[in-house]
């Protein structure tokens, strides 16, 4: 067996496999939550970015998942992740926080001047998450 063949056949350490599996679980939780919001919402595609009222059940389930399930998965992931990925994740967080600090007041002032639409918290949230993940994956894989 060549070294390249062994590269793909060698098992990961249990800790690294656990970290990878937890990421997949987090992704699945997000997917299921998205499907749930889509099914329980008003039928529009922008349920995550809408400010329309939702039922107490939808809000309660979303909040419980976001405040208990996701932090628990995140805590488990932090116990399993190696220092290289932890560093990449922190770097993504640093870039995302700086983006947040500069973007939010700029958008807020521009909206008050009537130049842009009013700020949407979930749009800001999505942009911060996308940038955070992009930097994290770039530093991990590039």
């Amino acid at each position: 067996m060549t070294k390249n063949e062994r590269e793909t056949s060698v098992p990961m350490s249990p800790k690294i496999r656990k970290a990878r599996n937890l990421l997949w679980i987090a992704l699945a939780v997000g997917f299921v939550l998205g499907i749930y919001f889509g099914a329980m919402g008003d039928g529009s595609m922008d349920i995550l970015f809408s400010n329309n009222p939702v039922s107490s059940a939808v809000a309660g389930i979303g909040i419980v998942v976001w405040l208990i399930v996701v932090p628990w998965i995140s805590w488990l992931w932090w116990q399993a992740v190696d220092e290289h990925e932890a560093g990449a994740y922190r770097e993504g967080a640093m870039v995302a926080v700086h983006l947040y600090i500069f973007m939010v007041p700029t958008w807020w002032l521009a909206a008050r001047a009537g130049w842009v639409p009013e700020q949407q918290p979930m749009i800001v949230f999505l942009i911060v998450c996308v940038v955070w993940t992009a930097v994290w994956f770039y530093r991990k894989y590039a």
């Binding site: 070294k3 390249n4 062994r6 590269e7 793909t8 060698v10 098992p11 990961m12 350490s13 800790k15 690294i16 970290a19 190696d82 220092e83 290289h84 990925e85 560093g87 991990k140 894989y141």
Partner: protein
Amino acid sequence: MNNRLKVLRAERDWSQAELALHLDVSRQAVNAIETGKHDPSLPLAFRIARLFEMQIEEIFDDQK
């Protein structure tokens, strides 16, 4: 920081994944250390040194 990790790994005919398994890190972490994109923490540097039965300064060089 320069290091001899790739050479030491090649001497043992290990893949990056095999070395990663020995060190309990991901293959990407081994690649990042070998290419100088990530400097290992002191505990990981000690693990690497013990694995190859060498001193840390025989593997890592901070002169360049």
